[in-house]
């Protein structure tokens, strides 16, 4: 039998282009079913009067849901809070994570214990952590005011979660505490990837400790830092659990967030359609910020 090599080659090429698709089919189907389809549905729903439970027939209402969202003062409050959260948490948390990563990268005895301690909050369920922090923030019986009182002689006595001026700050502090370990681990992995001879060369060139950090460590960590900044921004926009548990958006909407508003409107008040409109707006905001970030600082291909 004479086989035609060209034909064999052709079929193999044909198979090769089909096989990857077959392998990714389950994942693609899942993405379509659980990510793309719900999002397309949300867009469609946002133009209807759909409610969670209602025998009233579905009808299209045009832009009404969007108009209502944009007329709602709580929406601007929530958006403002989300932006404030991003503006404070992203730089502070990244800087702290970097500092911690450098600290626990030292070759010292027992450094693993510290790594574990700093990482522990990340693996704690947020709702549990938030419940504990609510007790810590109690103005009279809480640990934090106890500490502040001891240090300041009773002069500083904030009513943390019940005052409009401190509630959001309290959420921010707690969130940084909870999230910083995750970034630390990513940056730590990056630190350990930096070849040691870079530092040796720098030392030969007479670089000081700070100069080594500034001109070797930071540039080498560029990709990890970019990842951390992007992911922290997105997570910061999704701020929900800790606020839901600690303040449910109060007092006086001072800790309101877009996610909280979405759940309240869409599920609590059963207005799925208006909730969908918020989801679409939320998606567009996060998308444009992520795209802008990518444009500003392009990832280096190594």
């Amino acid at each position: 039998m004479i086989s035609s090599p060209t034909k064999n080659l052709k079929t193999r090429v044909g198979q090769d282009s089909l096989v990857p698709w077959l392998f990714s089919l389950p994942a693609i189907l899942m993405l379509l079913a659980f990510l793309v389809a719900p999002f397309v549905l949300a867009i469609v729903f946002s133009f209807t009067n759909l409610r969670l439970l209602s025998p009233i027939p579905l009808r299209f209402v045009g832009l009404q849901n969007y108009v209502r969202v944009f007329q709602d003062p709580i929406f601007y409050r929530a958006l403002g809070n989300n932006l404030l959260f991003v503006v404070i948490v992203v730089p502070v948390q990244t800087a702290l994570a970097l500092a911690l990563a450098v600290l626990v990268n030292q070759k010292l005895r027992g450094v693993r214990v510290f790594r574990t301690i700093y990482f522990a909050p990340v693996v704690t369920v947020m709702a549990v952590a938030a419940t504990v922090w609510r007790l810590l923030y109690d103005p009279d019986a809480g640990f934090i005011n106890g500490l502040l009182g001891a240090v300041s002689g009773g002069a500083v006595h904030p009513n943390w979660l019940r005052s409009t001026s401190t509630a959001f700050l309290a959420i921010i502090i707690m969130s940084i505490w909870q999230g910083v370990g995750f970034q630390m681990v990513i940056l730590l992995a990056g630190l350990q990837d930096i070849p040691h001879d870079h530092y040796e060369a720098a030392i030969v060139d007479g670089a000081s400790g700070w100069q080594q950090f500034r001109f070797v460590t930071i540039p080498q960590l560029r990709n990890q830092l970019l990842f951390v900044v992007t992911i922290t921004t997105i997570l910061a926009f999704r701020l929900f659990d800790q606020v839901y548990v600690m303040t449910s958006g109060g007092p006086l909407d001072s800790t309101q967030t877009l996610m909280l508003m979405l759940v309240d409107v869409g599920f609590g008040r059963q207005r799925i359609a208006q909730g969908s409109a918020i989801a679409v707006i939320f998606f567009l905001i996060v998308l444009s910020i992520s795209v802008a970030q990518r444009r500003l600082i392009r990832e280096e291909t190594t």
Partner: protein, 436 residues
């Protein structure tokens, strides 16, 4: 081509999702009188509130299952904190059990959405006549009977006789001579002066939820306002944001501004003696009684001008349209309404028994008993929460307003916002038309 196929597929997904939001397959036939086809297993959901309630319902289910062979009840306990949310989610996804217990005023929305089966031909006339009027009233929507509680609720001011007597504060004898709002505020001031740093416990630790509506809507009702215009349930304007409502809630806000209210983070403000007065429902009775014995007294809520008012309504049982057998489901509910069972439950949770015969058999609620005030209130000054499918929105809007007010927000603005929300919701639902 391929893109079009995708779009079509998505719309195929969209179709059932839209339909699912609306009516569900309903079995509205009600009872036939007997459980057909051998042993039937029915699933019942119960909110797991207090430990004692949980133990009681579990033993009641076991006793019911052992007492006969036709019906087997499977009990599922769900956390109380977001119980309503779980029911809502189950109703939206078609996952309701056969039997459901739910916080009273949500009945109208479930019934309107045809999630519940009318029980008119299930309940015997004798049993219906034996139920407290408040229970029948709250179980009825659009002239049909949809749900029944085995107990009703009571709301009052728990305090200690000895503490009031020492400061010369008058002790009212019943709803008719309740403290006026001014008298109450003055009493708080006196008690604060007497060393109770935060004399009033409003159970703020329960958080923004049904408690805010149940516990604090009697304030505006006592002033002559209400949550909604009950003549036709179409608007809250001029009622919820009326001058009377604003005035009474401004007094409520002043208690916070003057530092009378304990935020009660660990739920022990009254038990540990930081607060002298605890504004709360029947469910704390057993714990408070254990701590203070005969010194404990329950007083009516203060009178804001039109007489002391109080809440009514508690958890109710209903049969969902998803049930396999209405008769089997009803057999269980009927069992829970026997005097002995009612007394077992109310003995555990301190609530008012739902049947007149059970109430008469209990020393706690008989005249002179420590909880008799709750029976008096149900007969005279209790106001049901609005009997309309708009209730879920009414309560959420009012809760939000209360939360804003107790945090120092503008009272009128908070109530105006609530009115706007409620009226818009009613309009969006075409006025919640009753379909029969």
């Amino acid at each position: 081509m391929r893109r079009w196929a995708l779009v079509l597929a998505l719309f195929a997904l969209l179709g059932p999702a839209c339909g699912g939001g609306g009516g569900s397959t309903t079995s509205t036939a009600g009872c036939t009188g007997k459980v057909a086809g051998g042993p039937v297993t029915v699933k019942a959901w119960f909110h797991s509130g207090q430990g004692s309630e949980r133990t009681t319902i579990t033993s009641q289910v076991a006793a019911f299952n052992a007492s006969q062979n036709d019906v087997k009840v499977e009990l599922v306990l769900l956390p109380e904190g977001n119980y309503n949310d779980q029911v809502k989610a189950a109703a939206a996804s078609g996952g309701l059990p056969d039997i459901l217990d739910f916080d009273g005023p949500f009945l109208y929305n479930y019934a309107w959405n045809r999630n519940l089966v009318a029980l008119d031909n299930c309940i015997s006339p004798d049993l219906k006549a034996n139920l407290l009027a408040s229970i029948v009233k709250q179980g009825t929507y659009a002239a049909h009977f949809y749900g029944v509680g085995t107990f009703d609720s009571g709301l009052g001011l728990y305090t200690r006789k000895s503490v009031l007597a020492k400061k010369g504060i008058r002790i009212p004898s019943g709803p008719q001579d309740a403290w006026t709002a001014d008298e109450f505020t003055q009493a708080l001031k006196t008690l604060q002066g007497a060393g109770f740093k935060k004399p009033l416990d409003l159970k703020i630790n329960y958080g923004q939820g049904e408690w805010y509506t149940y516990g604090f809507s009697p304030i505006i009702q006592s002033a002559g306002a209400d949550l909604i215009d009950r003549r036709n349930y179409q608007s809250a304007d001029g009622v919820l944001n009326s001058a009377a409502a604003v005035q009474s809630l401004t007094v409520f806000q002043s208690w916070f501004k003057q530092g009378f209210v304990d935020f009660n983070v660990d739920d022990t403000a009254f038990l540990k003696g930081q607060s002298a007065i605890s504004w709360v429902g029947h469910w704390v009775f057993a714990d408070y009684r254990k701590a203070f014995g005969d010194d404990l007294v329950i007083l009516p809520l203060p009178n804001f001008g039109k007489g002391s008012k109080t809440g009514m309504g508690s958890w109710q049982w209903g049969v969902t349209s998803k049930t396999k057998s209405v008769d089997a489901a009803w057999a269980f509910i009927n069992y829970l309404l026997k005097d002995q069972q009612v007394l077992q439950m109310t003995g555990a949770n301190g609530a008012v028994p739902a049947t007149k015969s059970a109430s008469a058999a209990s020393t706690q609620f008989a005249p002179g008993g420590p909880e008799n005030i709750f029976v008096q209130q149900l007969e005279s000054s209790a106001v049901p929460r609005p009997q309309t499918p708009a209730y879920p929105t009414i309560t959420l809007s009012f809760q939000k307003a209360i939360n804003d007010i107790l945090n120092g927000g503008d009272v009128k603005a908070a109530l105006d916002k609530a009115v706007q929300d409620i009226d818009r919701d009613i309009k969006d639902n075409d006025g919640y038309p009753v379909k029969t």
